[in-house]
């Protein structure tokens, strides 16, 4: 099963989103979460891989401006044998936005042959953003492989320089990098129609911001 969830930029007030899934033998669950704004958003996605060879893939992307806040908890609990999880989060923080991500891969005793991967990639566009990450791996089984990698920072200097030599100013270059980051997740959504709809929403947000700027 695939679940695609979108939090639109115009979302005001609090948003609580709680997803709990239990996977049986050879079952697959894919979670695609796109957060384009909203003053305060809280997401929890907890997946138990109970069946043999079940798998879970989480693909989260977010783009936060102003004083928007995003709090994400994503958990993969491996109890079945030869289960697989991949948690991937990619996002952009601008202005005074803040984000907290807790990602947990929990290998329980008996889940032999399981593999869990977690990656996070955050682009920070302002000096006043706040990014908090707590990637956790819990393990009580010997025969597993768990990996986590995170990269948090500003746009790559070399890349910005290259773009400037091509006549693209820094602000536009940053915007392009931010869109590329979000798009890398949107491309994975298995329905092209849904992909297009989400891209339209992103354009809408960019247009609105431009108008506000003018």
């Amino acid at each position: 099963m695939d679940l695609v969830q979108l939090r639109e930029a115009s979302g005001k007030g609090l948003s609580y989103n709680n997803v709990r899934v239990k996977c049986g033998d050879k079952a697959y669950f894919g979670w695609y979460r796109v957060v384009l704004g909203g003053s305060e958003s809280y997401d929890n996605c907890s997946v138990t891989l109970a069946g043999k060879e079940s798998s879970f893939s989480a693909n989260v992307c977010y783009r936060l401006d102003g004083t928007e806040k995003y709090d994400l908890n994503c958990e993969a609990v491996h109890t079945g044998k030869r289960t697989q999880s991949a948690i991937s989060a990619s996002g952009v923080l601008a202005d005074k936005a803040s984000k907290l991500m807790r990602g947990t891969i929990d290998f329980r005793t008996g889940c032999s042959g399981s593999v869990g991967n977690e990656t996070e990639d955050v682009l920070l566009l302002s000096e006043e953003v706040r990014n908090q990450s707590v990637p956790v791996i819990l393990c009580s089984e010997e025969d597993v492989v768990g990996n986590h990698g995170a990269s948090i920072g500003r746009p790559d200097e070399d890349m910005l320089f290259y773009m400037e030599t091509r006549g693209i100013d820094e602000a536009t270059a940053c915007e392009m990098l931010a869109r590329a980051k979000i798009d890398s997740v949107i491309r994975k959504i298995p329905d092209e129609l849904v992909q297009e709809k989400i891209r339209d929403k992103i354009h809408g947000k960019t247009r609105q911001k431009k108008l506000e700027g003018e």
């Binding site: 923080l93 290998f107 005793t109 008996g110 032999s112 920070l124 566009l125 302002s126 000096e127 006043e128 953003v129 706040r130 990014n131 908090q132 990450s133 707590v134 990637p135 956790v136 791996i137 819990l138 393990c139 009580s140 089984e141 010997e142 025969d143 597993v144 492989v145 768990g146 990996n147 986590h148 990698g149 995170a150 990269s151 948090i152 920072g153 500003r154």
Partner: protein
């Protein structure tokens, strides 16, 4: 699959388990009361401000909650812990021959005087609550380096310096066991390295807790002044008893401008020890702190050396290995606060769990809004040797500026069967092959230690890995 596995049993740790009776020593009653604190303070001939500080800390201890987020410390009953045990010697010695026979034998067996002759610039030896021996090589002393026990320093010409630094980095309000330390601290070393001095060979303090049911609360205060360099080694061990022992030491390190301090620890407390130690360093402009940490012993550990990078261009390197065997719950890691521009930190740790041991890596990297141009990289790898054990990785990052680069990677896995098979095909037994692989896994730490200590660490790994093949 199961019948092909190797079962590694507990190794022989008796090398560290010898003990001597403590019948001749002076000790206070167990538990914590203002009267006991006054008694300790009287025994130690504290200045008045220190007695006040101790009583204030006791008050904070009583008001502070036990930590509720780490390994259980329910087996630790403070009413049963003796907080001050003076060994059977009236004063600290500077001649090894004057140290009482049984204490001397203890340190001889641990190889301390031998390593002093061979590879150290100075040695301090603490037995229970007091330093029994302190000596520094003439050529090091001639550079103006001060290496002495904290009590004498508290009353000598460095009294003001001690007062302005003592528990300023780790205030008693920090946590419950920092408050306990403030109330009952005893022993430990004071090191001052003057500007520009370069101490090429390391200084070492060795802490031995002999009395059952006792606590050790030594305080290490090191000030490395502008442009100076120092390598300080700390070693700890204790014989095993059936009652809980407690170690709540405190280490405060002040690294001046462009100074470098390497602080190495090989901790091998016995497996009835609660090791609730606090270590913290403040690094000024252009300075560097290097932590090298090996945690092998104790029943429960909470140990997270912290580095505050306070000056522009300050750097921190943390290299650690933790080995948790049967009955051990070792919660270790580190904290780094980047609070100035162009600071950098590099954290590289390994943890190994076997026979039901629990190892947890916990870290925090904070990059404040002042830390423009800072870089941080954290890498932790865990090795599980069986499925009775547990290995958790809990790193946290809090980044408050976009002008910083922060990276983190963690891996968890097992020893590859192919590697064991290859080594066995070269004539090694399965046990030797696994010990060799674990030693290689912990190489990040052993390669940072002086040769004698790297050998000792590899011996510890072999002791831990030794056992019958099932």
């Amino acid at each position: 699959m199961k019948e092909n596995k190797t079962y590694v049993e507990e190794g022989d740790r008796s090398f560290y388990d010898f003990r001597y009776e403590d019948k001749d020593s002076y000790k206070v009653a167990s538990g914590l009361t203002p009267d006991i604190i006054r008694q300790i303070s009287r025994e130690k001939k504290d200045p008045d401000w220190m007695l006040e500080f101790r009583l204030r800390s006791l008050d904070i201890f009583a008001k502070t909650e036990m930590p509720n987020w780490g390994p259980s410390i329910e087996g630790l009953n403070m009413d049963n812990i003796v907080t001050y045990v003076r060994p059977n010697t009236e004063r600290m010695h500077t001649d090894w021959n004057d140290v009482p026979e049984d204490i001397k034998n203890t340190f001889e067996r641990l190889g301390i005087p031998q390593s002093e002759r061979e590879s150290l610039a100075g040695v301090g030896a603490q037995y229970d609550s007091e330093l029994v021996y302190h000596n520094v090589r003439k050529e090091v002393a001639e550079q103006g380096v001060i290496y002495t026990d904290l009590e004498s320093a508290l009353r000598g010409e460095y009294a003001d310096m001690i007062r302005s630094h003592f528990m300023k980095l780790v205030p008693p309000e920090d946590h419950k066991f920092a408050a306990l330390h403030g109330a009952v601290w005893s022993g430990g070393s004071f090191v001052y390295v003057p500007p520009g001095a370069d101490v090429e060979i390391p200084l070492q303090s060795y802490f031995r807790l002999n009395a059952p049911g006792a606590g050790q609360f030594e305080h290490t205060l090191i000030i490395v002044d502008k442009g100076a360099r120092l390598h300080f080694i700390e070693g700890c061990s204790a014989p095993k008893y059936n009652v809980a022992n407690l170690h709540a030491g405190c280490v405060e390190l002040f690294v001046g401008e462009d100074a470098t301090l390497r602080y190495s620890t090989i901790e091998n407390w016995s497996k009835n020890m609660y090791n609730l130690n606090t270590k913290r360093a403040k690094v000024e402009k252009g300075g560097k702190i290097e932590w090298v940490s090996g945690s092998f012993g104790s029943h429960v550990s909470y140990l997270y050396p912290m580095s505050v990078l306070a000056g522009k261009g300050a750097r921190c390197e943390f290299t650690g290995v933790t080995f948790a065997g049967a009955g051990q719950n070792l919660d270790t890691g580190c904290k780094v606060v980047h609070n100035a521009p162009d600071t950098s930190s590099y954290v590289n740790t390994r943890s190994i769990s076997k026979s039901g041991g629990i190892s947890t890596f916990r870290s925090a990297v904070v990059v404040s809004s002042k830390a423009h141009g800072s870089k941080s990289s954290v890498s932790c790898e865990s090795l599980m040797l069986d499925s009775e054990s547990r290995s958790d990785t809990i790193p946290a990052m809090d980044i408050r500026t976009n002008k910083a680069d922060v990276g983190h990677e963690a891996k968890i896995g097992r020893i590859s069967d192919e590697a064991v098979f290859y080594l066995m095909s070269r004539g090694l037994s399965e046990e030797e092959a696994k010990a060799l692989i674990v030693s290689g896994f912990a190489e990040n730490v052993s390669k940072e230690l002086p040769l004698e200590y790297a050998v000792e660490m590899n011996n510890l790994i072999r002791i831990e890995m030794k056992g019958a093949i099932g």
